[in-house]
């Protein structure tokens, strides 16, 4: 790996305290993200998958510093931004952008599409007036919208077009990293295909890196170069997508892949159905967090937490038994 990583996340922790307030005592703590590490290179897509409550969205928002990390380092081009204040964060905000899940809720209903996409340009004093209009028009063109649509309001666009607006806004500042948080999961499959193709094209043109957060494994496999699987605030496996999907090593990854229904009635696959539900992140299990549902757990799994380590070239796994 000759290239220095664009993003280096090291032991990132994000806990939320529930309750609390003027007259309330200290509440319980949600261990949303509990010490995760990964790197992301220029032009690369890292998929971050897991079930609801695993902390993948919190991880994305914390990397962007939309949430303040509890511990750990977030290095962008080598500089740690984990503890920067609002003003010091400003230049970094320019380099890191986000695309949200719900393309409707993430667009202010009372602003026109052009104003929404132009807002980042205005914030950073990059362009105003006619110059801004022209840049916004170019952004519209790049994501497959027409410049005449700049005067329309978000509700006048279809779901897929709204997500294109979200992408145009994220691209406005020429970022080097975009965190895409479930950005196609609200879309119908035919529209989802359009957005995924657009994102791949944009990546090839601009070399932007994606942190692609999603629960749909097939989508993640399609768009990613490498994939990290999260379970209850921890990364349990991180590998090249080829290795991860063809030869998963962590029992959770394996069960997750088997759980996906295959759109092919000829395939009758054997499936290990996991028992029970994901435990509460308020009180994660001791030892390996997966031991309560793991089909191969042993006594030591309940007590000793497995560290993530390289098991095969480019394949990191946190499991005592692999």
């Amino acid at each position: 790996m000759p290239e220095a990583p664009l993003l280096e996340v090291d032991g990132l922790v994000k806990h939320f305290r529930l309750g609390g307030g003027l007259f309330a005592g200290a509440g319980a703590t949600v261990h949303a993200v509990d010490g995760i590490s990964f790197t992301l290179r220029q032009g690369e897509t890292l998929g971050l998958v897991g079930e609801s409550g695993c902390g993948k969205s919190t991880a994305g928002k914390t990397v962007l510093r939309l949430l303040a990390p509890t511990a750990g380092a977030i290095r962008v081009d080598g500089a740690d931004i984990a503890a920067l204040g609002r003003a010091a964060m400003r230049p970094y905000r320019q380099r890191m952008q986000v695309i949200f899940q719900d393309p409707y809720a993430s667009l202010n209903p009372r602003m026109t599409a052009g104003t929404i996409v132009g807002e980042p340009l205005e914030n950073y004093g990059i362009a105003r007036g006619a110059a801004k209009r022209e840049r916004v028009a170019r952004l519209f063109d790049r994501v497959g919208l027409r410049a005449e649509q700049m005067a329309k309001y978000p509700h006048e666009f279809s779901g897929g077009q709204r997500q294109r607006l979200g992408i145009a806004r994220a691209l406005a500042l020429d970022p080097r990293l975009i965190v895409a948080d479930e950005c196609v999961s609200a879309l119908d499959v035919s529209v989802q295909a359009q957005i995924l193709n657009l994102m791949i094209d944009l990546q090839e043109e601009t070399g932007v890196a994606f942190l692609f957060i999603a629960h749909d494994l097939a989508v993640v496999e399609h768009i990613s170069h490498r994939v990290a699987v999260m379970y209850l605030g921890k990364i349990v496996e991180l590998a090249d997508k080829r290795a991860l999907f063809h030869r998963p090593l962590h029992p959770y990854t394996e069960a997750l892949l088997q759980a996906v229904p295959e759109p092919d009635p000829q395939v009758k696959r054997t499936r290990v159905v996991l028992k029970g539900d994901v435990p509460s992140p308020l009180d994660p299990p001791s030892g390996c967090r997966f031991h309560t549902r793991c089909p191969i757990a042993e006594a030591r799994c309940r007590e000793i937490e497995p560290m993530i380590r390289e098991v095969a070239p480019g394949q990191m796994v946190a499991c005592h038994l692999r």
Binding site: E51, S190, A193, Q194, F245, P261, P263
Partner: protein, 334 residues
């Protein structure tokens, strides 16, 4: 074999201040005893409204069933009075929804909710209804059913709530279960549990299932026959194996090509382009002239734009509404 549920030329429209939305526009299908029929399509295609129409649960106004027939064991549900219909709902035909939290009453214990259905439809006394409720929870694999009876919906996880919904729906041993996106709100590992449970219960109780979903994977796994809907109409219907092996409607073909599939990228780790269905779903507010899919279809010609294609048979049980289905069948998917 006589079908248990038969829908013929169903038309459900919604009045809107801009005009009439033809949410369901002449849909027909039937469901055999003990069969699972999948209904697939993208949002707005009318698949959920079809299911709601069966039990006449379409919010009226603005919705209204304006035409067609729905026959359940030979009785026309559309001609029934409210009292007779109530005896069918939740008793002979029951329904489960996508979001179990909103379908359960938050202030009643789950035991009470299941027992009430039984007391209403089966005229069971309280004690017997409670016993049966516990049995049902056990049937859907909820551990410690007796204790769970006293719990409220918010005390259960999403997967548990969907199990409760299934228990409730099956409590009166219905002949038909309408399942509207039953696993869409659930995680994949929980979805695998629920799908497994549904398949097992169907085999055991012989309930026929109408499974409405946008997920082709779920359909492939669960259904015996599939109806594909687009813009309020049935565009294709076929046995599941046939549909996936030989889809004939350009929309079905496009839908199948646009989903990313696992382990299909080959071993080189590349990112092949997904097939897109260009454009977007048409507005259902105008009466369609010609095929509703024509503006997005690469096979479309003058004939397609002039008249809506009738459903035609292209193999055993395989019907397609496309002028070019014959040509597509001969030429493969090219």
């Amino acid at each position: 074999m006589t079908p248990v549920l038969e829908i013929a030329d169903l038309q459900t429209h919604f009045a809107n201040r801009d005009g009439t939305v033809r949410a369901v526009d002449g849909v027909s299908w039937n469901l055999a005893r003990g069969e699972t029929l999948g209904i697939v399509g993208e949002s707005g295609c009318g698949k959920s409204i079809t299911a709601l129409s069966v039990l006449r649960l379409v919010p009226t106004p603005p919705g209204r069933i304006v035409g067609g027939a729905i026959r359940f064991e030979g009785r026309d549900l559309l001609a029934m009075d409210e009292a007779a219909l109530r005896r069918v709902r939740g008793n002979e035909i029951s329904m489960i929804f996508q979001e179990p939290m909103t379908s359960l009453n938050p202030v009643l214990t789950i035991g009470r909710q299941i027992a009430e259905t039984l007391m209403l439809h089966q005229r069971l006394p309280r004690r017997a209804a409670d016993d049966r409720a516990a049995e049902m929870l056990d049937l859907v694999r909820i551990p410690e059913p007796r204790r769970r009876l006293g719990q409220y919906p918010h005390e259960l996880s999403g997967g548990m709530r969907q199990r409760v919904m299934i228990a409730m729906a099956l409590a009166c041993s219905p002949k038909v279960l309408l399942a509207d996106e039953p696993t869409t709100a659930l995680d994949v590992t929980i979805q695998a549990q629920i799908l497994g449970l549904m398949a097992e219960l169907k085999a055991r109780l012989g309930t026929a299932i109408v499974l409405i979903t946008h997920d082709l994977g779920v359909v492939a796994e669960m259904a015996q026959r599939v109806v594909v809907m687009y813009a309020g109409r049935k565009v294709e219907e076929a046995p599941v194996g046939e549909l996936f092996a030989r889809p004939l409607h350009p929309y079905t073909i496009g839908l199948m090509a646009s989903i990313p599939r696992m382990n299909r990228g080959g071993t080189d780790g590349g990112r092949p382009r997904l097939a897109e269905i260009r454009g977007i779903v048409p507005s259902l507010k105008r009466a369609p002239v010609g095929c509703t899919f024509a503006p997005r279809c690469r096979h479309a010609d003058a004939q397609c734009r002039a008249a809506y294609p009738p459903l035609a048979e292209h193999g055993p049980g395989h019907v397609v509404a496309c002028w070019h289905a014959g040509r597509i069948a001969e030429g493969g998917h090219a």
